[in-house]
């Protein structure tokens, strides 16, 4: 999300307005204007985020990827499939970064069949590895949307009701070849409260639109690869908790690394690699011990294989807190020497400054770059956080 590719945000500002905004700056260069448009688009997107809604943080998402013949089309470079896989890699990494105790599964559709590539799991590295292997998949026949959905439905149905359950379909084909009436599948998905979103790579397909509408998901058709990326990455923000989803208090374990003063840790076997074929079980010192049954794991988060307790580290949970306690949105003002420097990056404001951004909590002024950085990445207002009278205030609190 950090690349500043100018064309990335063109569709957002709208083509018709773009030319109005492009003005030559003092030296007659256009670059500055273009950068300006991109930044404005970013700001607009930020200010549109609605805060205060409840979020489904324990997300369970099935990605259903079309691997039919239509995915070999070269309208995306180098092919639709390769482009989708590349984007999905980045997506997985970012997804787990923002939804730390969530799980993703992967299903592919080809030759009228559905095939599960990856069960629901919460490890970005393993997912990326299995995506890499999909490169060589033969792209044959038609997809069956119904078979793909049924497979995901079967797995999601068995999950506890407090979990947020979602399906994301990436569809290249304009047709689907289904064994029976797909409407009944859509009805069961709706009944289970499973949110289905579709990203179409070609043109609008009625059944996809219907599926998204009925289940509370979103349906979009891409314009180009950067639009594709943007649509995909929109799925990273947790959706408002699905209606009817039960809330629960879940028992969790917070393992700490063994710390017995002055003693050498013994070599022990970890449970994560016990039956892994390609890596094999390792004898290691250190690791995380389940506080309930003392099984050892070399990575968190994980569900204890022996006693079923979900094991996480506290910072893992804290990674998501910014969704609940976001930094206040800044207000835009025309620059009239309100401040000499930006309270964040210390940039000297000059005559050329058009707008400055004021935090409604701490009343400090910031430059546009800091406005974006604070709300997109940092999630803490540097002005608020350095003053004892404001450092605990947030949008919701």
């Amino acid at each position: 999300m950090d690349e500043d590719d100018p064309k990335e945000y063109r569709w957002e500002t709208g083509y018709e307005k773009t030319w109005e905004a492009i003005k030559e700056d003092d030296e007659g260069f256009l670059e500055a204007s273009i950068a300006d448009i991109i930044q404005r688009a970013k700001r607009k997107r930020q200010s549109k985020k609605v805060y205060g809604t409840k979020l489904g943080m324990m997300r369970h998402l099935y990605v259903i990827l079309d691997c039919s013949e239509s995915m070999s089309s070269q309208d995306l470079k180098p092919t639709r499939l390769i482009c989708s896989l590349k984007l999905l890699e980045g997506f997985m990494e970012e997804f787990f970064d923002q939804n730390p105790i969530s799980q993703i599964g992967v299903i592919i559709m080809h030759n009228k069949r559905a095939e599960k590539i990856m069960n629901l799991a919460g490890n970005a590295r393993k997912h990326i590895k299995s995506l890499k292997n999909l490169n060589k998949t033969t792209l044959v026949g038609e997809p069956s949307l119904q078979n793909g959905l049924e497979m995901a439905l079967k797995s999601l149905k068995s999950l506890p009701t407090h979990a947020s359950r979602e399906i994301l379909i990436i569809m290249g084909s304009l047709t689907t070849c289904d064994p029976s009436d797909i409407n009944s599948t859509i009805e069961s998905l709706k009944k289970e409260g499973i949110r289905c979103s579709v990203i179409g790579l070609a043109a609008e397909v009625y059944i996809c639109k219907l599926l998204a509408d009925k289940t509370g998901g979103v349906y979009n058709v891409i314009l180009d690869d950067s639009h594709f990326k943007d649509l995909l990455y929109q799925q990273i923000d947790p959706p408002p908790a699905a209606c009817g989803q039960e809330s629960n208090l879940i028992k969790m374990g917070f393992p700490h690394q063994m710390a017995v003063e002055g003693t050498e840790e013994p070599l022990t076997m970890c449970m994560c690699h016990v039956d892994s074929i390609d890596e094999g079980s390792k004898l290691t010192t250190g690791g995380y011990y389940c506080p309930q049954c003392y099984s050892k794991y070399c990575e968190l988060p994980v569900e204890c294989r022996a006693c079923g307790l979900t094991l996480v580290s506290a910072p893992h949970l804290a990674r998501s807190y910014h969704h609940l306690f976001p930094a206040m949105n800044y207000k835009e003002f025309a620059y009239e020497n309100q401040a000499e420097i930006c309270s964040g990056c210390q940039k000297q404001f000059t005559e050329n400054e058009k707008e400055v951004y004021k935090c409604p909590n701490c009343n400090n002024y910031f430059c546009i770059d800091c406005d974006i950085f604070v709300h997109e990445t940092l999630h803490t207002c540097p002005g608020c956080a350095t003053n004892s009278s404001t450092f605990q205030l947030t949008q919701t609190g």
Binding site: M57, M258, P291, L317, Q346, D369, S388, F391
Partner: protein, 301 residues
Amino acid sequence: MKMNNIELPAEQTPEFSSVDETSLIVVIFDSNPGQKLLRDNPHILTHCLDSIIAFSNSHLMQKAQNKLAVMACHSKKSEFIFPGSGKPLDVRQIDGQYETFTLVEKTIKQNLAKHLAGESPMLNTESLLAGAIAMALCYIARLQRSKSPGCMLNSRILVVTGSSDSAMQYMNYMNVFFTAQKQNVVIDVCALDQHLSLLQQGCDITGGLYLKIPQLQGLLQYLLWVFLPEPPIRQKLVLPPPAKVDYRAACFCHRELIDIGYVCSVCLSIFCKFSPICTTCHTVFKIPPLAVKAKKKKIKL
């Protein structure tokens, strides 16, 4: 100005061959007069400051293109005392001292004096280190944006403090740690007086070093020995072994460390016992899971 004090085999350090590499240190100095250390003995401030200035100059001396920023952190305000806003001071060479060093020393001392003069007489508030780190990250992000393409900027933050870290700043701490990790900014912490368990987590998350110095007299030695070497070189040096980091959760109700707890499925707040309503997001929960212990298994048709 180059100091070849560490000789390493060339093939192991390709990242040091490039001349376009700049190393930036942002030192965050906790000069809050409210901290116990300074309340007990105000002279310590000068001692610490002198050590930090000597450390800063050593960093600048290592490579001509190295960069430095120094911040003062209090409870009401944190400020850049070097380079500081406005025009740089006018310094002439004194006693053959390299002008840059004089500039660093004079600017830091003058700006810190100004900063301290603006401090209110309230002495018992905590230093908002998480906020100062947030400012440092904005500053680093600007330098990253404005550097010329092809240049490498390696940035790190060194926190020097005698305060304790409190769970009040928990969210802000976590936000700055994860941001630093994302931006490849290393956070080092030199604790002068008390053990800092939250900041220690920050060092662990960002790959920095945490050290609680055994005695204040040796501050400069510790700074030069432990914190001056750039992170990639550190692996080759004999440094204090990393301490085990306590990653247990602090429950939202009592701020106590727990190893088994209950987490709200809506907002991920952590509680040490079951309660029927979440105090963070006000969600009402159904009956404790213990009462329905025999989980109903869905039977496949």
